[in-house]
């Protein structure tokens, strides 16, 4: 009931236009990048030519980023836009206390809001992904194999979870903050931190813990530790997690996501991974993303349930 109303609200709202434009931009730019970059990709490295269809999502032209990296960057925006005033706007309009005095459990309100947002995100992501696939099919004449199609679908699910995470974070902020603007700013600050600053910070911390350079044996030994440490810190950020997971999924040539030494490589066959093996590789990422989403939503849920709802 509430879910229906929230979904209807989203679709009828002016914000939906913004979502559609944003999603359309991601789709068009992503596709344009792929279309102009695809030929180069085939020319340069033909090793993974068998998975050309997936390249539609990962190839970037000179300055235009690929669909995948656009999604990693802009996906959070969609989630944040959907959620940042979920509770706040109800409070500001004075409808929240009317709503909580109706005979329905309070958690239905926040779950309804979250699910409606997630549902819409899923619809948008899948439609945009499938549009690219369809147009790519017609324009390039590439026919996806079953494995490619499976990878594509899993990839799109990842996108939905990723947007859902940011939606949950935004809903949380909207219950905590009194004003929608505060909540939006807080979300954007967190997003900036996760996508830009954490990688800088990770580098600094890793260098401090395991100094490299100097040329002696210890520094050489530290190299590996330094890299691992930096990567692990980076993985705290959903942005990095998402990027790593999706590039593994969309590129079957990726065989490992951790640092690999020469000894570990010896004897390995140079081939691509099957869907199942790729999934195995990114399973922790998926778990982490889902767990983060649930944690953020749990935060929103708890703070909303404990909140005293007064008149505006």
């Amino acid at each position: 009931m509430l879910f229906e109303k929230e979904t209807a609200d989203f679709i009828c709202g002016r914000r939906m236009i913004l979502f559609v434009i944003l999603m359309g931009l991601i789709t068009v730019t992503g596709f344009y990048a792929a279309a102009s970059g695809l030929a180069d990709a085939i020319d340069s490295g033909s090793s993974s030519a068998s998975f050309l269809f997936l390249k539609l999502f990962t190839v970037s032209a000179n300055s235009i980023p690929s669909y995948n990296s656009l999604m990693a960057l802009m996906g959070p925006f969609i989630g944040i836009f959907m959620g940042f005033d979920a509770i706040g706007s109800e409070r500001a309009e004075g409808t929240l206390n009317r709503l909580v005095s109706q005979p329905l459990y309070r958690d239905h309100i926040i779950i309804g809001k979250f699910l409606a947002g997630l549902f819409l995100a899923a619809v948008m992501v899948f439609s945009s992904g499938l549009v690219i696939a369809a147009v790519g099919l017609i324009a390039t004449g590439l026919v996806p194999t079953a494995a490619e199609a499976a990878r594509l679908l899993i990839y799109l699910c990842f996108c939905v979870v990723y947007i859902g995470l940011w939606l949950a974070v935004a809903v949380w902020f909207s219950t905590v903050c009194r004003h929608a603007a505060t909540s939006a700013l807080a979300c954007i600050a967190l997003w900036l931190f996760c996508s830009i600053f954490i990688s800088l910070l990770a580098g600094i911390v890793a260098d401090a813990l395991y100094p490299v350079g100097g040329g002696d044996m210890a520094a050489l030994m530290n190299e590996m530790k330094n890299y691992t440490c930096e990567m692990n810190l980076n993985r705290l950020s959903p942005y990095y997690l998402f990027g790593e997971a999706t590039s593994t999924l969309l590129n079957p040539g990726v065989r490992s996501i951790n640092a690999v030494t020469m000894t570990q490589l010896s004897g390995a066959l140079s081939s691509t991974l099957s869907v199942g093996q790729s999934m195995l590789l990114v399973w922790p990422h998926l778990t982490a993303l889902v767990a983060l989403t649930l944690a953020a939503f749990a935060g929103a849920y708890v703070s909303f349930m404990r909140q005293e709802i007064r008149a505006r």
Binding site: L2, R98, S101, Q102, P103, Y105, I309, R310, A311
Partner: protein
């Protein structure tokens, strides 16, 4: 409360209800009972704990001590059941501005399990009742405050509640709107047999509509009862005060009054005499003055007016807490005077 024992059983009953916010005790051991079909007014200045009480009655806030029951249901434990039978009209009610009034009502109706033609008929009937049929299909964002309030009442009635709780229903509404609202509230109680609890700091408006009222100061209910009972509670402090104007207003008049049995003091206040006596003099005074050939132009017992009662209670309170807020209260009551005069 004396009223609770006689007649129909109490619909709303609180026992030792207490809510603290850190150091501040917003509601302090409140014992309240409201009978079926009566309009009960919760009166007090801003910040007296009225809203907190209504929130606890609806289970929106958990009390720290004591309990509140509506129709035998515990307001904290059976909050959902309570909300099925209790309608709440919050102070400054809001609606989804992107939806029309009718759509807003439809949404509430569906939340309460109504559907189909039953729902539509109910919406039409309620819009008619609150006189909003013309504006029903405009966006709620364009409504004036009075319209929002009226739509709010329709919204509350969607679930056909046995108890209606209203928080400051008259705030910010023009006199005509207030009159209509008061008439509607009376009708809800008398016509439909619903119990109404309303909180307000606007005395005159409430005075007209309430059967009983409780005066609420700093989380405590310091007095409760009908208007007359409240007036009597004050008079039992020992002094009975009358206002008198009579014709001809000559020097002898004051002498006659002073000579009467029980009169303690007489003040002349422009065209009015203020008579302090040890008991109610109205009968004796009017007989005496009629015999002496006077015509009584005005005779009124001070304290029978809510404003007076209210002020007296604050004076008593101020006696304990210093006199800082006294003038403020007087000003407030003056304001409500002039409002009601409009």
């Amino acid at each position: 409360m004396a009223g609770a024992e006689k007649g129909s059983p109490a619909v709303i009953r609180t026992e030792g209800l207490t809510k603290r916010y850190g150091e501040l005790t917003a509601v302090d051991h409140l014992d309240l009972s409201v009978l079926k079909g009566e309009v009960f007014g919760l009166l007090g200045p801003n910040g007296a704990g009225k809203t907190t009480t209504t929130l606890m009655l609806l289970g929106l806030t958990e009390p720290d001590e004591g309990q509140a029951r509506i129709g035998g249901l515990d307001c904290t434990r059976d909050a959902i059941e309570v909300k099925r039978t209790v309608g709440y009209l919050p102070d400054n009610v809001g609606f989804y501005s992107a939806m029309t009034g009718r759509e807003n009502l439809r949404f509430t109706g569906r939340l309460n399990g109504l559907a189909g033609t039953e729902l539509e008929e109910k919406i039409d009937a309620l819009l008619e009742r609150v006189n909003m049929t013309d504006a029903a299909d405009k966006k709620a964002g364009t409504y004036s405050r009075g319209m929002r309030q009226r739509l709010g009442i329709a919204d509350v009635l969607m679930k056909d509640p046995r108890v209606i709780i209203m928080d400051e229903p008259t705030l910010g509404i023009d006199p005509q709107g207030v009159r209509e609202l008061m008439w509607l509230i009376r009708d809800l109680a008398e016509g439909d047999g619903r119990t109404v609890l309303l909180s307000s700091h606007q005395l005159h408006q409430v005075q007209r509509v309430c059967d009983r009222m409780g005066i609420f100061v700093q989380g405590k209910m310091i007095a409760c009862g009908t208007l007359e009972e409240l007036g009597r509670q004050i008079d039992h402090d020992g002094v009975n005060t009358l206002e008198l104007a009579a014709y001809p207003d000559n020097v002898k008049l004051s002498g006659i009054i002073k000579a009467m049995n029980g009169v303690m003091d007489v003040e002349k206040n422009s065209d009015m005499y203020i008579i302090h006596s040890s008991f109610d003099l109205r009968r004796a005074l009017s007989r005496e003055l009629a015999q002496q050939g006077y015509t009584i132009m005005h005779l009124r017992q001070a304290g029978s007016d809510l404003d007076e009662i209210y002020r007296k209670y604050f004076e008593k309170e101020d006696g304990q807490n210093g006199t800082g807020t006294d003038t403020g209260k007087r000003r407030e009551s003056k304001i409500s005077h002039s409002e009601s005069a409009l």
